[in-house]
Symmetry: C2
Subunit: 230 residues, 2 copies
Amino acid sequence: MTAHLIHELEDLKRRIFSLVAMVEDNLSLAVKAVQERDESLALRAIENDAPIDHAEVAVEEECLKLLALHQPVAIDLRFIVAVLKLNNDLERIGDLAVNIAERAVFLHALPLAPFPFDFDTMAGKAARMLKHSIDALVDSDVPAAVEVCEADDEVDAINRDMYEQVKTAIREQPEHLDALIHLLSVSRHLERVADHATNIAEDVIYLVNGRIVRHAPDIACKHEDMKEDR
Amino acid sequence: MTAHLIHELEDLKRRIFSLVAMVEDNLSLAVKAVQERDESLALRAIENDAPIDHAEVAVEEECLKLLALHQPVAIDLRFIVAVLKLNNDLERIGDLAVNIAERAVFLHALPLAPFPFDFDTMAGKAARMLKHSIDALVDSDVPAAVEVCEADDEVDAINRDMYEQVKTAIREQPEHLDALIHLLSVSRHLERVADHATNIAEDVIYLVNGRIVRHAPDIACKHEDMKEDR
């Protein structure tokens, strides 16, 4: 590997960290907007998506440039392909933050209902999974990646529980149907953030082991956990 | 480009066509299972996912091999990166077909409710978008790709309409809440199939024009249409 490629790959990692930080902050802002029913926070989260999109485009262009100019092989090639894929996941997580913020805008316009839903815990878990999946990539840390896959089960369980809570609330307070359907969507969006983090973790395992695990039934990243949403 | 690379790229295109056909057939089967509340069809659709996953892994390995062995540049490099990304989209569409089939299993176990929901039209539109996006890729056909992006608006509109219909049905027949929530998910899953087809179409435009359009506000593939789901 040339010194030039080493330098460029370090730069690529820095770009990814910066993009992840932007995505995490915006997700947290969007969830706060839902929890506090704060329209101005929600609108800020929606506006924040443009710079995230630009950063994501820049990462993709950088990957294409590295492939064309340096024609990397082996682990470097796999790393760049993993970055191309996780870049897509980060973009989708960014979009999910916007979707959540849009729900906050809708909720703001609806009558206040008692909301016993704890999105902070769910969002916190999903954000940690995302952070750990990126750390696992940069450190080529397979055990950390496997932990991310395992954590996905917890988020899936919270989502299922949330579905039951919402259905109960609809039965008890049908007058809040609109708000409750929006909250169901927020839960589903957060569950999908965790799915994307899991996708990234799977690619880390692939990167290090050279083995595609997302359809291999015999290891921690089980296919059942990878389904997009429920 | 060497004769060998030309041959390998043709082979890659054939693999993609074959994978798309499998994904389309399974999506259609899953929707039929929902419409006819047929559990055995649903279980077949769930089983069909394994060969789809294997085909998808084979495509990814093939792309890695082509990048490593032929170190392609310019349009060939962009094509292979586009295939890597659409491969991901196809896998997700495959997962969505499974999610839809799972809903059919749940629905089968619930009391029969009057379902005025026309999923066939929505599924047909989404499947056509998928087919056209792949054709656009193989033919490097930008106008066809733009048409796919435009068709996404129609599917989004059907999904929004479906939400309203379901909310009305919940109000009128609260005893069918469980089934109706499942049907809401089916609609959302189909809307996301269309989103994935749109992603593929965007990548075609990128491939041909060398321009990432998914965040460019001035052309038909508007960012607003690209959001994952609502």
